[in-house]
């Protein structure tokens, strides 16, 4: 009998139309093809032409359809009618909402603009929101970088004029050894996965350094289960080994870094700064003449071993420091949690690949000194890291140590190493300095955030007290380049350094997973003064969904979802560039909202116009921009330079060019992005490559070429140390002098993370990791993703599991110096034996996110945040020290120390909070038709 089978149509209709825009479920910002059927979103896939993701998508991006149809979407502006935290709201019109906001903000601007604090969370429009805040005139603006990884960003920028984050990438095509420090997911989510896939497919080696062996560390060929907070020590031990064996790139150090700079040895206010000529150029000793010469002189051959009039080179200081037996692998092994033999082995492997397997590209280039080079030499060892290093109180110094390691082997901006993405490289001194001068009724005197060169750039008031509500750029954390979002609510509540009136928050779930010490923050938000008024009088919040934070605001400005609005991912803040191209992108409304919601940026332009903010109104006082789309196209920061670089002028210009009214259409036709490729001869050695510098000027990244040397030795840091030693007019308070002297070491140093002070009673390190399939709190409303991560166990290593006699199904009570939680546990063998961990932000508040109150996220899920505090436990000196990096103010999430005890299986995790009333209707029970219902 012949085989019969049904007749199948293997070419069914796929979609009516494909609309290309940009994903928003994380900061990676991949290009997406949105397939439309019957006017609705049918299916989302990656855009193959897109520079970021080249067609692939992650789990979140692929389930965007469940995000734009989530029942938790807010429906209209909300005015609070019950007490804060009750969740009782009344839906109001936009006109009423805008009137309320204007009535609150207009008088403040006239009298005391600093009483508005505007902080943004997962903001992808920072160049716009910061411009708005500057125009309003408040010094109190920042985005979320202070939570995140300012250590990584600032450590990178101060050391080498660029950072990891999404601002740089390993040379995936050439690298032979990739070393990953402490990354679970990162912002560059898809490129990292693509890169790891690429190098592993090629058979090259991936090394994972992480207390936890999951995700990227699971595929790592070699895993080093470091004890948290000790990477700096391990890196310095590797540097010790490399120096000992002379396995460093002397030529690179001499030519492209300040290693040959001469450190002033004379006692006094200049001690420890680098010698400069009368033009302010760093001096080196030229090997050919033996005489001092400016570093950028043509033909100069800087001498790393020079001693001139008693001043020794940076290189000698460095060698002296790191060759000390204090950094010998044997000495550090115990604290690092890795055997000396393995640390040495890793150092040897780095040396072998960097020097024995060096590569050479036949690509001539010319350096900034005017010398031509016939080839590009590559040291194919690449490194990457993020919050594993960053989110510790010694994170800035550790980040510097890591970059110095990369620099020592000559692997930054060389083939096979680490490459910057435009607009980087950009040295710290090409960035603005912070501004904080308030003039009622007028804009701020300049941009809020920046890179201080020394104490003179701190954001302090006349009386020396912090000018900003988050105390950024104060002596407590001088280089806090991204602000300190995690301190805003507690400082505002304490009225220190001063009281504020209105807190305007955008896209940050501050009443839940993005604060330390969640319960107390909730109390601060609801706390009333003796007058019966809330201590933080007014809170305006923009969210698109029914998050925990919504319940704690007085006025809610409901945003659209990412497929319903215009957006611009701009070269002015965090663009989508790749190492070989400058690129930016847009979002555009591929569907129209079916609710009374508006894009936040358009709302802010409207509000700005109502407040008459400069730049947002015409001379006659009418609004300058109809909406955000209008702004994206027509706004100019500098003549010819606007939010979008692509298709300027008549449509052919990139970077610089007149406003093009057709610009958005051109972006849409091009798949939602624009890219301009770096010329071949400019692909590597970018900070010193004349070809790159010229290209960067041509597209408006800089106004003139900006070649510079890497700062192995950091002079800005030394300037703060000098102040702490008593030099200069701006002096730190007495209690901070010792901390500054220690933390502002101009050569990378390691000190124990502050959490270690509690080690005796709380021996265990507790960490969180990003799940790849969830974005912070907001993936939970996605019915597909919440099936993957609907609850989170606390993972324990075998040693702790056995020691306490845990078995499957058990729960534990975990206690830190600040509180305790009771949670379910599970075993993980591939885990540092002093470390426990859980997935981040899975636990949810009952009543939020349009979930049933008995959702597993709320009954079995939990946050570690209840154990963390924005302040360190009292030390008995009468002061409360911040749980932050003393250099940048980076929140030290991962310094957490705990102890653990076994408890019987429970039904409910603790702490358990009362149900909040949902501002949106109950969700339908079942999802039967994908996006159609």
């Amino acid at each position: 009998m012949t085989y019969r089978q049904p007749v199948l149509d293997t070419s069914p209709h796929v979609s009516d139309e494909v609309r290309k825009t940009t994903c928003y479920m994380c900061a990676c910002r991949c290009g997406i093809n949105v397939h439309m059927k019957g006017g609705k979103v049918a299916y989302i896939e990656g855009n193959r032409d897109h520079p970021v993701n080249k067609g692939v998508l992650c789990a979140k991006g692929s389930s965007g359809i469940m995000q734009v149809t989530a029942p938790s979407r807010l429906r209209a502006p909300l005015k609070r009618v019950g007490p804060r935290g009750s969740g009782e709201f009344q839906e109001i019109s936009w006109e009423e909402a805008m009137t309320i906001a204007t009535d609150w903000l207009a008088p403040l601007r006239k009298t005391a603009p600093e009483k508005l604090a505007f902080f943004t969370g997962r903001d992808q429009s920072q160049s716009f929101t910061s411009w708005w805040a500057q125009s309003y005139g408040t010094p109190n603006y920042a985005a979320h970088g202070g939570f995140c990884s300012v250590n990584m960003a600032a450590g990178g920028i101060y050391t080498m004029g660029g950072a990891f984050w999404e601002f740089g990438q390993p040379d995936w095509d050439h690298t032979k050894l990739f070393i990953l420090f402490g990354v679970a997911e990162d912002h560059d989510s898809n490129p990292i996965k693509m890169g790891i896939g690429k190098i592993k497919t090629r058979g090259a080696k991936v090394v994972g350094i992480n207390p936890i062996r999951s995700g990227y560390n699971a595929v790592a060929d070699d895993w080093y289960g470091v004890t948290p907070g000790a990477d700096g020590l391990m890196i310095l031990a590797i540097i010790h080994e490399l120096l000992k064996a002379g396995k460093v790139d002397l030529d690179y150090l001499a030519m492209w870094t300040n290693s040959a700079g001469l450190v002033n040895s004379e006692e006094g206010p200049e001690k420890g700064l680098l010698l400069r000529d009368s033009d302010g150029k760093m001096l080196v000793i030229d090997r050919t003449t033996g005489q001092p010469a400016p570093f950028d002189q043509k033909g100069v051959r800087p001498d790393l071993g020079a001693v001139w009039q008693g001043h020794r080179t940076v290189f000698q200081h460095m060698a002296e420091k790191y060759l000390s037996p204090d950094y010998a692998p044997e000495k550090v092994a115990a604290r690092v949690g890795i055997a000396a033999e393995r640390i040495k082995g890793l150092a040897a492997e780095i040396a072998r690949v960097a020097f024995d397997e060096a590569i050479e590209l036949q690509q001539p280039w010319t350096d900034f000194r005017g010398e031509r080079h016939e080839t590009m030499v590559g040291r194919p060892v690449s490194m990457h890291s993020m919050r594993g290093i960053s989110a510790h109180s010694n994170g800035f110094q550790t980040a510097r140590a890591l970059h110095v390691l990369q620099i020592l082997i000559g692997s930054v901006e060389t083939p096979g190493g680490f490459r910057f993405k435009p607009p980087y490289p950009k040295p710290f001194d090409a960035h603005p300095v912070p501004h904080c001068k308030v003039t009622p009724g007028a804009p701020l005197d300049g941009p809020h955030l920046g890179y201080p060169r020394g104490p003179e750039n701190l954001a302090l008031k006349e009386d020396g007290s912090p000018a900003r509500i988050d105390k950024a750029f104060s002596w407590e954390n001088p280089l806090s380049a991204h602000g300190l979002m995690h301190m805003v609510i507690s400082n505002a509540h304490a009225g220190v350094p001063y009281k504020i009136d209105t807190l305007l928050l955008y896209m940050a779930n501050m009443a839940w997973n993005s604060t330390m010490n969640t319960r107390q923050v909730i109390e601060m938000l609801t706390d009333k003064g003796e007058d019966g008024e809330y201590v933080i009088p007014r809170i305006i919040y923009s969210d698109a969904y029914s998050s925990e934070m919504v319940a704690y605001a007085d006025l809610i400005l409901p945003d659209t979802t990412y497929l319903e609005r215009h957006d611009c991912i701009s070269l002015l803040d965090r663009p989508i560039c790749e190492a070989d191209g400058a690129a930016d992108a847009i979002r555009w409304p591929v569907i129209e909202p079916d609710r009374d919601v508006r894009g936040f940026q358009s709302v802010m332009l409207d509000l700005g116009a109502r407040l008459g903010l400069p730049g947002m109104v015409k001379d006659d006082g009418t609004p300058k921009y109809a909406d955000y789309a209008d702004y994206i196209v027509n706004h100019e920061r500098r003549p010819g330079v606007g939010p979008l670089a692509g298709f300027r002028g008549n449509g052919d210009s990139f970077g610089r060019g007149a406003v093009n009214p057709d610009q958005l259409k051109r972006y849409i036709d091009n798949g939602g992005f624009a890219i301009n490729h770096v010329p071949h001869e400019a692909q590597y050695y970018k900070p010193w490559n004349a070809g790159y510098q010229d290209w960067a000027v041509s597209i408006g990244l800089y106004d003139k070429p900006l070649p510079y040397l890497f700062s192995v030795y950091s002079e800005p840091m030394r300037r703060f140390q000098l102040a702490a030693e008593g030099h200069g007019t701006r002096q730190p308070p007495e209690h901070l002098r010792a901390q500054l002297k220690m933390a502002m070491d101009p050569l990378p140093a390691w000190y124990a993370p502050f959490g270690d002070a509690e080690a005796a009673e709380y021996p265990i390190h507790a960490l969180t990791q990003r799940p790849m399939a969830m974005y912070h709190s907001w993936g939970t409303q996605n019915a597909w993703l919440r099936q993957i991560h609907g609850r989170n166990p606390l993972y324990l290593p075998t040693a702790i599991w056995k020691q306490h006699g845990f078995s499957d199904g058990d729960w534990a009570r975990v206690t830190s110096p600040h509180g305790n939680i009771t949670v379910p546990v599970a075993l993980m063998a591939g885990l540092n034996e002093h470390t426990i961990w859980t997935w981040n932000a899975i636990g949810k508040r009952k009543g939020a996110w349009a979930l049933d109150a008995d959702a597993p996220e709320a009954t079995k899920g939990f946050l570690l945040n209840h154990l963390i505090h924005e302040l360190l436990p009292p030390k008995g000196d009468g002061l409360r020290w911040a749980n932050s990096d003393p250099v940048t103010g980076q929140a030290a999430w991962f310094d957490l120390r705990v102890k653990i005890e076994r408890v019987e299986p429970q039904e409910q995790t603790l702490p358990d909070f009362p149900v909040i009333k949902s501002p949106v209707p109950k969700a339908p029970r079942n999802r039967l038709w994908g996006g159609e219902k």
């Binding site: 999951s214 099936q787 993957i788 991560h789 609907g790 609850r791 989170n792 597993p856």
Partner: protein, 291 residues
């Protein structure tokens, strides 16, 4: 496997019904008239209720007729055919017994054969599954047949045969439980073979693919407590075989005694069948760390 009430009712009652029908077809009891109506009605009742129950777990019972199409390969399809044929073939037998006064041996013998084949087919639905090692064994058809024959014999009031079959059933149950416990290991599927990772070392589940449940876990991963299972095993043997035999031996032969013995037997049969499902481990559990 999940001990779904519908499949338990299906296999127990249809087994009992078809077992009873076999005795009727063979003419080992030959009721007539109203008696025949009641007795055949009882046999048909068990069989039909059982078959009907089997459709409760279908996602689309309205298409159940399609289950007849694949008799060449599918035991479920075969079971469909044989059960319908049995019921059809036995119908004239029953009608003759009721209205004519004697059953038809010409149709009765084939009917009896078909009834037993039906029970065999039912058992093969489970016994064929390599994925459930405990079932994938001769004890499965043996037990299904033994249950059908024992239940039928009790219903038929054939005390001696019933007692003898009770003994056989009890022995088979003991053997089935004993052999069943080792089947999974004998089959050789482990987390190491399931993942192919045994070449590296010992495998354990770190994270399941999702934190909630899914169809597979509900359907195929069911864990019974050891103590609970042991208790039920004893109950099943006692009630399915030992107590009915004792009842038949001790109590005076009567309809009431038969009814009592059948009731005891059914309790045991349900317990045994619940365990049959509940103790059966599907290899898919290996992917969920359930072993």
């Amino acid at each position: 496997m999940h001990p779904a009430p519908s499949v338990i009712v299906f296999t127990v009652l249809s087994g009992l019904g078809f077992g009873f029908l076999a005795y009727l077809g063979l003419g080992l009891i030959a009721p007539t008239g109203l008696n025949a109506f009641l007795i055949y009605g009882l046999a048909y009742g068990f069989a039909v209720i059982g078959l009907a129950a089997s459709t409760f777990h279908l996602g689309n019972p309205q298409r159940a007729w399609r289950a007849f199409t694949q008799w060449r390969t599918s035991w479920l399809s075969r079971e469909g055919w044989t059960s319908v044929i049995t019921l059809l073939v036995m119908a004239p037998v029953a009608l003759m017994a009721i209205f004519v006064g004697f059953p038809s041996a010409t149709l009765g013998y084939p009917g009896a054969a078909m009834a037993l084949i039906t029970v065999f087919c039912t058992s093969m639905i489970y016994a064929q599954l390599k994925t459930v090692p405990r079932w994938n064994h001769w004890t499965t058809p043996a037990l299904f047949m033994a249950f059908a024959l024992t239940g039928g014999a009790i219903l038929s009031g054939m005390t001696d045969l019933a007692v003898a079959l009770c003994v056989i059933l009890a022995v088979l149950l003991v053997v089935g439980y004993a052999l069943g416990d080792g089947r999974f290991v004998q089959r050789g599927s482990t987390m190491e073979t399931a993942t192919g990772l045994g070449r590296i070392g010992k495998v354990r589940l770190f994270e399941p693919p999702h934190t909630g449940t899914n169809y597979l876990m509900r359907e195929m991963i069911h864990l019974v407590g050891r103590k609970h299972a042991a208790r039920l095993r004893v109950i099943s043997i006692l009630f399915a075989a030992v107590l009915p035999a004792l009842a038949l031996l001790v109590l005076p032969a009567s309809i009431a005694t038969i009814g009592f013995a059948v009731a005891l037997h059914l309790i045991g049969a349900f317990a045994a069948r619940w365990l049959f499902f509940a103790e059966a481990e599907h290899v898919v559990g290996l992917y969920y760390g359930a072993r």
